[in-house]
């Protein structure tokens, strides 16, 4: 699905790289543990997380992810947004909680690559 569809489904606010909203993504994962993302995740394009720090963007960058969704209305700092912008990563925030946000995207066709 297009990144713009994720934004609509989660009623999310896009905070960086709006020019990438037309890009297609096929897979996603949700975690607050970046260690687990680095160890268990494979080829996921979207990261949903309730953790807010610079290492979330760094982890996404290392894993070649293209979109980070902060759940539960967590507000990333300007520093986090600047890093994401420079790495061409779309950042959005949603009021949905992790379980609901994942469920909404899953039932709309996004999967985790195993």
């Amino acid at each position: 699905m297009k990144i713009s569809e994720i934004q609509k489904l989660l009623n999310a606010e896009v905070l960086t790289c709006k020019e990438n909203l037309d890009n297609d993504v096929k897979s996603a994962c949700g975690s607050d543990m970046m260690s687990d993302v680095l160890a268990y995740v494979k080829d996921q394009a979207v990261l949903l997380t309730g953790l807010v720090n610079m290492q979330v963007i760094r982890t996404a960058e290392m894993m070649d992810m293209v979109c980070v969704v902060f759940v539960r209305n967590k507000v990333p700092t300007d520093e986090i947004l600047a890093l994401a912008e420079s790495k061409n990563i779309v950042v959005m925030k949603t009021g949905e909680r992790m379980f609901d946000a994942c469920g909404i995207l899953y039932s709309s066709g996004l999967r985790q690559v195993k």
């Binding site: 260690s35 290392m62 070649d64």
Partner: protein
Amino acid sequence: MGEILKLHFDVDGDDFTSAGEASAEVKKKLRLLGYSPETVRRVSIAMYEGEINMVIHAGGGVADVEISEDCIKIVLEDHGPGIENIELAMSEGYSTAADAVRSLGFGAGMGIPNMKRYTDSFNLESTVGVGTKVTLVINT
């Protein structure tokens, strides 16, 4: 054999926010040099795990990277507390990370296993009270 490009980084142990900058720099360089996405990702993840370890377990250190046509070699060296039981440290799920580190999203005890998984050669030398040296080689 072609030429070797050498990069050196000081990894600040007091600043969790800047952790990963060296790995990001290497990733950018490898991309520019035209290495395959697969190679770039393996190097990025392995080095990032090592860089994070130096920050969360050892108070920082240095990273030396050698980039050549055949392989990328990364040496991460610190003067932290060292590792008492290397075999244990290498096993999946083993971590001495404090809760404070876990609340930052790290400390699942999968860093060293992950470094092994993404590299063609992995070597860890450590002496308690002296420091730790991790050598990673990824063949292109």
